[in-house]
Assembly symmetry: C2
Homo-oligomer: 539 residues x 2
């Protein structure tokens, strides 16, 4: 018996001496997460004193990524392989137990709903890494991961039954008029507890010691979203703190350490986007120069170059032309309230435009939180016909402040616009990215460049419409006399698609337009929010 124990001890010792990774997969899908961890008992603060990186190589590609301390003497390296094949890795650290650890895994082809991370495509649009079009139909639930676990589970169930594929959510908890919940866990360890001005407890954080549990819980939720095909548009900073925890006014050194830690943990999550801030200009402790420093830090720490932007208050436009920012994430209703404005913004930035806040469907007193469902749905379509994207949000508050308001806390939707998202998303996925067909002249007609057009009449109620197309076709080949088309009437609110029982054929260009050769008209429902999809019929 003693001998047996000795043998086991020897094996354990051998194992520890070789310092093999405690855990690692042998096969990983492309764009999935490879993770390997090592045991080491740090003498001091493992977050601040231990540096760990790992170099991953396959064929002609080598990438070095940062590892991180996950508490409990656990040091972790995560990696998102972008190429299939055998990957080898070696760790680097000044700590012998973490240095020069080697291993390998096979990266295999993605399967099922794994299409990889979302990237910018064709200047104004998005695609998954595998080439599949991605159209951002997002909603907003800033603090859902800081609510009670039941609410979080309810949120996931709600999202599962809706059509969204993106959600805006904060890393830090939120302290705001209608959101007062204290989170269960915090991102940092408490250094001391002081008495605040009103006798309340004020936690003083140790910004050099992260709380791994906080981040593990966040990661679980990001993985839950991934399983639902939803991108996590992760907000790194926001102003909704107001002295309660102080995460909006950490020293710059702490901000940068937080970014290093967060990116080391999360960059390998394929469904993560970096949103440097919500309403960045309301964060009074940070200047534009600070934001540029933080943006650069995120980009430098992210080996995969996830989508990255920053969001301001109403009509506050950051310098979205900066190369670090992959797209513009804008709060402003002006671009979608009237025709023609949405596409101006994209013409200026030459990047994808997401109007991540144009107001919310809801019943709040605040004017940004009391749109009808019809208005919210209309604004989403107003974005689309400008070749841009609009994020949904819902802020219904019944009962009292303990009610969940989806915009802040998640929970259940109570409105009506969310039900239309799957419908409009399906139309976009069928049609492909659309562009204004005749920029600054025709404000309601978009083209996919391959013979399909989407026209949106907005709030106008038209008895009929004379079949006609613009002679221009964005930068694509122009339509030709004799082209034949079918038409579908889309009721964007009632979610119906009605084919028109006729075929139309365009004649010569007449004053920049091409009309049906018999000048035929289409009867339209006497309703607002009607769109048309026009599709060329192959000869």
């Amino acid at each position: 018996m003693k001998k047996r124990i000795l043998q086991i001890h020897l094996l354990t010792c051998l194992f520890l001496c070789l310092q093999l990774p405690i855990f690692a997969q042998s096969k990983v899908e492309q764009w999935d997460r490879f993770e390997v961890s090592f045991k080491h008992t740090p003498k001091e603060n493992g977050f601040a004193t231990v540096t760990l990186t790992a170099t991953f190589s396959t064929k002609d590609t080598t990438q070095t990524v940062a590892g991180f301390y996950d508490g409990n003497n656990n040091f972790v390296v995560r990696f998102m392989p972008q190429k299939i094949g055998i990957w080898n890795f070696t760790t680097h650290s000044t700590i012998p137990e973490l240095n020069n650890k080697k291993g390998s895994f096979e990266c295999v082809k993605a399967t099922g709903s794994n299409h990889g991370p979302v990237k910018v495509s064709n200047i104004y649009h998005f695609k998954y890494a595998d080439g599949k079009d991605y159209f951002p139909f997002g909603t907003t639930a800033y603090a859902w991961t800081h609510m009670a676990n039941g609410v979080q589970e309810m949120t996931l169930k709600t999202l599962k039954n809706a059509g969204f594929n993106k959600i805006r959510m904060g890393v830090f908890p939120k302290n705001y008029d209608l959101v007062k919940e204290e989170p269960e866990v915090y991102p940092y360890l408490v250094k001391e507890v002081k008495k605040g001005p009103s006798g309340n407890d004020l936690k003083v954080w140790d910004y050099t010691q992260f709380n791994p549990v906080f981040f593990q819980k966040l990661e679980k939720r990001i993985d839950d979203l991934r399983a639902l095909g939803i991108e996590a548009d992760l907000i790194l900073f926001h102003p909704y703190d107001k002295g309660r925890w102080g995460f909006d006014e950490m020293p710059m050194e702490a901000n940068l350490r937080y970014i290093s830690y967060l990116t080391a943990r999360l960059a390998s999550f394929r469904n993560v986007w970096w949103s440097l801030a919500n309403e960045y200009d309301y964060v009074k402790s940070k200047s534009d120069a600070d934001w540029n420093t933080l943006i650069k830090a995120v980009v430098q720490n992210d080996p995969y170059r996830h989508l990255c932007s920053i969001h301001g208050s109403t009509a506050k436009y950051f310098e979205y032309w900066k190369p670090e920012l992959t797209h513009a994430s804008i709060q402003d209703e002006a671009p979608v309230m009237h025709l023609g404005a949405a596409s101006i913004v994209r013409n200026i930035y030459n990047k994808p435009i997401i109007y991540d806040e144009v107001g919310y469907e809801g019943n709040l007193k605040q004017r940004w939180g009391r749109y009808s469902g019809e208005e919210m749905n209309h604004l989403i379509w107003m974005g689309l016909i400008g070749g841009t994207y609009v994020t949904h949000g819902e802020s219904y508050s019944f009962k009292d402040n303990r009610d969940t308001i989806f915009w802040a806390k998640g929970g259940e939707f109570k409105g009506s616009s969310w039900k239309r998202i799957a419908f409009v998303r399906k139309i976009m996925e069928e049609t492909g990215p659309i562009e204004p067909a005749d920029v600054s002249r025709d404000y309601i007609t978009t083209t996919n460049g391959k013979g399909s057009y989407i026209i949106y009449f907005g709030k106008d109620i038209n008895e009929s419409w004379a079949f006609n197309l613009p002679a221009k076709n964005s930068n694509f080949e122009k339509p030709k006399k004799g082209n034949r088309y079918k038409v579908e009437i889309i009721d964007t609110w009632d979610m119906s698609i009605q084919p028109v029982p006729a075929t139309f054929e365009i004649s010569d260009v007449n004053d920049y337009r091409m009309y049906d050769k018999e000048n035929r008209r289409i009867r339209l429902p006497l309703k607002p929010y009607i769109a048309l999809r026009i599709t060329e019929i192959s000869q």
Copy 2:
């Protein structure tokens, strides 16, 4: 007699040996032009081989400016003094006859209509150097200085009787559908004449030899404009050449030499603005990088930092965020066709926005050249209520191509919108710069921040209007309960201002608005294009 002649010869010799300036003023108004010239017979090409600069000093200010060769052995230095007092100058050249010439003059206070050059003021607006507000009410006559002299004189007479204070005009002649005139003089000397593809004469220019007469004529016209209080928004390059002269496709070296020469001649003209190009993206020989090089060259060669921008084709937005560009000079009708869009563009760039081309009043077949006068006037007001500026243009073509079309050739106005410019300009000069009062929420109300508001109803015909103001007031102090106001009804088309015989007093904020305490309404004319001016009455 012989002795007398000898004496004169000796004096002449002495004079030449001392090389005193041939001509120089002793007194110059602030922002007027000081000019001094020197005789020297260049051995070779005086444009290419002689370098001349001069340093001007007063009290704590020293500026070095470039001189230029004006032909006929004449070397000229021009300077625009910006400070009053005694200025001393010294020339620098490798040519002894041009080197170390010294002189001085007194700069005296500006008088009359001399307000100095126009500068950016308060982010989005303009002021003259003396502090007087400047509101750009421009028109367009691209090639007016290349027309026959009679047409040029007619143009000046037309401008004298209109309300414009800016004109867009090209340095180079224009070859376009409706503009075929051959200029009388060219900016360069001819090296040789070749036969073109259709047997036509093709001039080959010597890009190292400028034609001073060309520039002298241009300068005369800029001075003529100055006398009328009109800024010359001078277009340095344009694409309307199409192989006729080749000024759109000179080698980069020639472009840079042209900029050096032009700025040496013209930077001292206080009413000059630099517009690097019209429709820059249609100039196929130049890349964006080339444009940035040329923009930088202009700014580096301009000691006074005149206003500087560049203009693209429809909906083509240059990188107006570049610090070299003082304002955005945009071709796009989208920002003024619907409410709310004009101010988005200013919120993005945080610079003054001039929509220098939104289409023209006229009768052309082209859709950009057939607006009604009402539409042109309306678009100018649409710009103003966005806190931006719109340039007028007129493209009426009667008879045939020999008819003058103001947009291209100058001559006489034939439309109706030009008659409204003095009216709207007077309103703006009385009211001061205006800003959207409640950005992205109220699209028709602007504030001057000092108790005055301008509301524009556009094409809407309203029977009456309930007196109310937004509770917000841009970044200015908010209106207070009890404030009292008078109202004037402005008919922007009929050019009438009708005071409303009542005083209104605002009550508490009610859902973001402050209504008259008695909820009184104002009867409005049943017409489109109605505006209101609301002015606080001092207690």
